[in-house]
């Protein structure tokens, strides 16, 4: 624009030549002439441009070992879904599993090997020198102490580490902050085996959980939740219609929210309660005690001290309640009691597990719902080992420490200091977490989605992990390959893995050649065997002779530290999807909190958001108060996961690290105590909580309807107890005119002829509020994460949210919670559509409330007029590279779904039932000359749902599942009185609580 050519004159020239816009876009049509098309050199056989390829692999975000199907487009994985072949998760996947992608494309991944040349600085190095340095340090450290710390490894990689350590002389320590020591020890006490059985929730007719958060972090949450919803979901005509679920815990967790009855019990007395129930069953002969002659009598004798009236004071649970629960449990014929999570992190955790085992045994559950045989592989790792390691480090008896898949510096208070005494530390972490930052040599591993490995999460399940794409950072290396190279062994880790599978082939090959069998295993994500259950015998000495007393100081409060459902032990903190995901119970994101009962808060005179100083004997931290009825009075609860000092931009310097309140010495059973007593001091500071909660109570708005079980069982087809008269009398005449106009409109142009009406049914008797659907929606629909500040301004972009409302708590009604997914209702008579001045919001012929992004000018009228508040406005340009609100910093943008527009600033966006999946299924059906079948289209939320609560389909197809569910007597529409005619039918929740029979 030099030479006297300013903007004004330039525009004038354009107007003279008469083709302004056309010229600017390059000869009038098409793209800028510089856009390049670069073909493949050799086209990959299994990739079709524009069409996804799916690969089976195994999720490694936790120890559960769920099967995955990875959706790969043009060589990049863009979505993870559950593998339906896997018996672990039955095709379902949780939020943490979905977010594995953000670990793969994490912008803070280490791109290549690093070495510490000067104190405080890690510098880039080459793999040759990195591996040579490792080999040299191993040679130097021989016989001076070599320790390899890994996370929970059940497959070939763990075996390789053991082989390697055997060769160089060292010890293997498995470290998981939330291991299952109490469970193993409790099983050993009761049954003489430290195996962890498979809990068959699906077969249970009565479920009792003593603190076990089996839907969020406990053992195998996706599979357990799937089984739970099969048992607990309401099914008219089934023997008991639904299995009742009772949660015994001092705090209501995500799992506890699904409970029909919440028994708030004094922390540490769960076992006493279980034994009291066992006492009722044995003394009342409510069930036939299995096992040898005379066992029942011995048990009755040992249980004598646990009569309900004796334990009422200790537990805080009345004798009549214990009596009733025990009778219900025994009468169900297939009860299942599980102990875990909070209830096993006490000093007496193992005794509590043993007590619950006794209860299961006397009620006949062992072998029926508690299945030894297909044992869960959690038999590695103990906090005692970790504590011993820390002591060894501090004593200077370890010369070389290698760390893979664990971050002890973050979760073990004294580890960082002890690390200073180690001559050389090697980290294999993919991220600069606290431990890697303190290491002398960092040899970044491939992400699990980029590597070969396997896992054996359950006896009989051999889950394979294959690379689903080329490494995002090509200068990273499989740790298995590093170990093989460092020890001068030939071959790669893949060869090592295949060697292990050749052994398996001899047993499981069924006459197939290895190559064929291997290919089939890779295709199906592994091999899955049925394992018979074995019988176990109860040892009556598992019942302790006296009642355990709880520790309680005067000015001290018991505080339980629980694993965050999304961030878990902190490993999820570097993934913005998990940070942004509101905690299912508190609805708080991007920050930690301390749960305080209103009664306790009243005593302290604090409000939600007030920051208090919590001081335990081991440490202190500041935490904002969240006042909630979901924790019992006098008890405090804080989540883990936040408070990182490293681990990337999303995790660092955020909130508090709850591990700092915990001690470093193991309990008698070898685990860590997560219950500490704290003093509380007000600081006078306040913090606005980033919460997605609008109102803690539903206020009778009819958003969530619930039915007592007795009433639900009486419902007959054709009845519609929730049907409201949608049109008031005075509007009847107007309605007739409206109906005529609609009919006319519906017979014109695009609206003429027969069309599907896409609709959804959401069964609230199955929905648990786990929020897997929320993260699935983020992944599928390119939803931006906006960060803590914008969440406090309620500018989150989650098209799908889980609304949680507390119930009861007054007039003697017990506290409970109800949850519902809230997303665009795809109204038949949508308030958003007529107010759009540019027809960006409009009604599609197939019944969707369409939103045309390139037409939207951002008036936000539609959002103002939406009674469900499910439209989300782009206040900023979240996709702008390097921008202030950038949501997908390089290389995170690689996970964007190419089938969905990335919306810009100033545009309204919303759920359209995954319209891209609808169109893809229609295109495919057209290609195959057929109609779209029911079940062809599965939106991302419905696909991920571990409870299978969401069903999608064509309402106009009388044979579709959604049509049948829309006719269900439990069906209702949210805010039906507004005459919006939603496309989503909710099926009322059914409660089997103590008042359910009334």
């Amino acid at each position: 624009m030099s030479h006297g050519m300013n903007r004004r004159r330039f525009l004038k020239v354009l107007s003279v030549t008469g083709g302004g816009a056309a010229v600017l876009s390059g000869c009038g049509i098409g793209p800028e002439p510089t856009e390049k098309l670069i073909p493949y050199l050799i086209a990959p056989e299994d990739q079709i441009p524009g069409t996804p390829t799916w690969y089976s692999t195994t999720c490694r975000e936790c120890a559960a070992g769920c099967g995955l199907h990875a959706k790969v487009r043009e060589g990049r994985v863009i979505k993870l879904e559950g593998n339906p072949d896997s018996p672990i998760n039955h095709g379902r996947l949780c939020a943490r599993g979905q977010a594995g992608l953000q670990g793969l494309y994490n912008p803070d991944r280490i791109a290549g090997p690093l070495v510490r040349k000067a104190p405080g600085r890690l510098e880039e190095t080459t793999w040759d020198s990195g591996v040579a340095l490792l080999a040299q340090k191993v040679a130097e450290a021989k016989r001076k102490g070599i320790v390899f710390v890994t996370g929970h490894e059940t497959g070939a990689f763990g075996e390789l580490v053991d082989d390697w350590l055997k060769a160089v002389g060292g010890r293997h320590v498995t470290y998981e902050p939330f291991a299952f020591e109490a469970l193993r020890e409790g099983n050993r006490l009761a049954f003489g085996t430290s195996a962890v059985p498979f809990y068959d929730f699906a077969s249970a007719r009565y479920i009792l959980s003593f603190g076990a958060d089996f839907m969020e972090t406990w053992l195998s949450p996706v599979g357990f939740q799937n089984g739970f919803s099969r048992a607990h979901g309401f099914e008219a005509g089934r023997d008991a219609a639904m299995a009742k679920f009772v949660s015994v815990a001092p705090r209501m967790s995500l799992t506890g929210m699904s409970a029909d009855e919440w028994i708030a019990v004094a922390p540490g007395t769960e076992g006493v309660l279980a034994l009291a129930m066992a006492h009722v069953i044995v003394s009342g002969r409510l069930a036939r005690v299995p096992g040898e002659m005379g066992l029942a009598a011995r048990l009755a004798n040992n249980l004598a001290a646990y009569a309900p009236e004796n334990v009422a004071r200790t537990t805080g649970v009345g004798a009549h309640v214990v009596e009733r629960l025990a009778r219900e449990f025994a009468a169900s014929g297939a009860g299942l009691a599980v102990a875990g999570g909070m209830a096993t992190h006490y000093p007496n955790g193992a005794e509590i597990v043993a007590a619950v085992n006794v209860l299961n045994f006397v009620a006949g559950a062992v072998g029926k719902t508690v299945k030894f045989g297909p044992d869960l592989a959690v038999d590695a790792g103990s906090f005692r080992d970790a504590a011993a390691l820390q002591a060894d480090l501090a004593a200077g008896t370890v010369a070389l420490l290698l760390v893979h898949g664990a971050n002890p510096v973050y979760s073990l208070g004294g580890f960082a200091q002890a690390l200073g005494k180690v001559a050389f530390t090697v980290s294999f972490s993919s991220y600069l977490d606290e431990t890697a930052s303190a290491a002398d040599l960092v040899l970044p591993d491939l992400h699990p989605l980029e590597q070969w490995n396997d896992a054996r999460p359950r006896t009989g399940v051999y889950a394979l992990q294959q690379p689903v794409m080329q490494p995002v950072f090509p200068n990273t290396m499989h740790t298995g390959d590093v170990l093989l190279r460092a020890s001068g062994k030939p071959g790669t880790f893949r060869d090592y893995l295949q060697g292990k599978w050749r052994v398996l082939h001899q047993r499981h090959g069924r006459g197939k050649s290895f190559e064929q069998w291997w290919m089939e295993a890779v295709q199906h994500g592994g091999i899955y065997d049925e394992v018979p259950t074995r019988t176990v015998r109860l040892s009556p000495s598992a019942i302790p002779p006296g009642l355990a007393a709880t520790r309680r100081g005067d000015d001290r409060y018991p505080l339980t530290v629980f694993p965050h459902p999304a961030l878990h032990d902190g490993r999820g903190a570097n993934k913005p999807w998990l940070q942004e995901l509101p905690d299912p119970v508190s609805k708080i994101s991007w920050h930690g909190w301390v749960e305080v009962n209103p009664e306790t808060a009243g005593k302290w005179q604090v409000a939600s958001g007030d920051i208090v100083l919590l001081t335990s004997p081991y440490g202190a931290m500041r935490a904002p108060v969240w006042i909630t009825p979901s924790v019992m009075p006098g008890v405090l609860a804080v989540p883990t996961g936040q408070g990182h000092t490293a681990y990337g931009r999303y995790a660092r310097d955020r909130s508090f690290n709850a591990f700092q309140l915990l001690g470093d010495s193991p309990a008698a059973y070898g685990g860590r105590e997560f219950l500490v007593s704290v003093t509380v001091a007000k600081t006078g500071d306040h913090r606005r909580l980033a919460t997605a909660e609008g109102n803690a109570r539903e206020q009778g708005e009819g958003i969530i309807e619930a039915l007592p079980l007795a009433k639900a069982r009486q419902l007959r087809a054709g009845q519609h107890p929730f049907e409201e008269k949608q049109i008031p009398d005075y509007a009847e005449a107007a309605r007739e005119g409206w109906a005529e106009a609609q009919h006319e409109k519906a017979s014109l142009g695009n609206y003429a002829g027969a069309h599907p009406r896409w609709a959804m049914a959401i069964d609230l008797a199955k929905c648990t509020g786990c929020s897997a659907c929320v993260t699935a929606c983020y992944a599928e629909n390119n939803l931006a994460t906006v960060g803590e500040e914008l969440i406090t301004r309620h500018r989150e972009m989650s098209w799908m949210r889980i609304e949680r409302y507390f119930t009861g708590g007054e007039r003697g009604v017990p506290v409970g919670a109800v949850v519902t997914p809230m997303l665009c209702q795809q109204c038949g008579n949508a308030p958003c559509e007529p107010v759009c001045p540019v027809y960006a919001a409009y009604h599609t012929p197939d019944g969707l409330n369409g939103q045309v992004y390139n037409r939207c000018i951002g008036t936000r009228y539609c959002s103002n007029n939406c009674p469900y508040k499910v439209r989300y406005f782009n206040w900023f340009n979240y996709a702008e590279p390097g921008g202030e609100w950038e949501s997908w910093p390089e290389p995170l943008q690689l996970l964007l779904n190419p089938d969905v527009t990335v919306r810009e600033k100033g545009v309204m966006e919303k759920c359209t039932f995954c319209v891209q999946r609808i169109r893809a299924a229609q295109n495919q059906a057209r290609l195959e000359d057929r109609a779209v079948h029911d079940g062809d289209i599965v939106p991302a939320c419905a696909q991920s749902c571990p409870s299978e609560a969401i069903v999608f389909g064509d309402l106009n197809d009388p044979r579709s599942r959604v049509h049948a569910l829309a006719e269900d007597p439990r069906g209702y529409h949210v805010l039906a009185g507004l005459n919006t005619k939603p496309g989503i039918t909710y099926l009322a929740k059914v409660t089997a609580g103590p008042g359910a029979e009334a």
């Binding site: 493949y40 037409r855 527009t901």
Partner: protein, 197 residues
């Protein structure tokens, strides 16, 4: 640059617009591609003046008129995913070399270009083609569905008579009005979310 200089430059560009839009008018609606009309064998001309050709100059002077016109290679031989996927696919260099490791070209001008292909193959450096057809933003176009309905010879309806183009240029606007006019004519859906999502 002076005022008049800019005007002259823009004038030239606009002439280009006009020229490239003529074949579009002449050929719209004619089914073609995959070897041209029956009975009249097409002979690709010898090109001496490449500057007069429409469309951008490509790194290799690949002639659709020779391959698709004269040699009657079906469009789907190279763009083989067009009938099964939303994307037609740009053929991998391997597809080119499949023939051209044997076929070296008849005319010297052809031999020069084929040498470029062979060099790209031996250098493992695929050519960086200049993109000609690109949809405006926010639009989805499933190729497979259109091929299913219109047939495998329907490519020319949107892409023009590529089998007579020595150098490919864009003949259709690919703008919404152009899409909708065809949808209206054929009485098929004009719903927004069929393409916009």
């Amino acid at each position: 640059m002076t005022n008049s200089g800019w005007q002259a430059a823009l004038g030239v560009v606009c002439a280009g617009v006009l020229a490239s839009s003529i074949p579009a008018a002449a050929q719209s609606g004619q089914p073609g591609g995959g070897g041209g009309g029956v009975g009249a064998p097409f002979k690709a001309p010898v090109i001496s003046d490449t500057a007069s050709l429409g469309g951008p100059r490509q790194p290799i002077f690949f002639r659709h008129d020779v391959h698709a016109g004269q040699d009657r290679i079906p469009c789907l031989y190279c763009h083989y995913t067009v009938a099964v996927s939303s994307e037609p696919g740009i053929p991998a260099l391997q597809t080119c070399i499949g023939c051209h490791q044997i076929i070296g070209g008849s005319a010297p001008s052809h031999q020069v270009e084929i040498q470029k292909v062979r060099k790209a193959w031996s250098d493992r450096q695929p050519p960086q083609w200049i993109r000609i057809h690109a949809l405006p933003g926010f639009v989805r176009f499933p190729h497979q569905r259109h091929i299913k309905v219109l047939g495998t010879n329907a490519c020319a309806m949107c892409h023009g008579q590529v089998d007579t183009m020595a150098q490919v240029s864009q003949v259709s606007t690919l703008r919404m009005g152009w899409c909708v006019s065809c949808h209206a004519e054929r009485k098929v859906t004009q719903d927004c979310t069929v393409c916009h999502y």
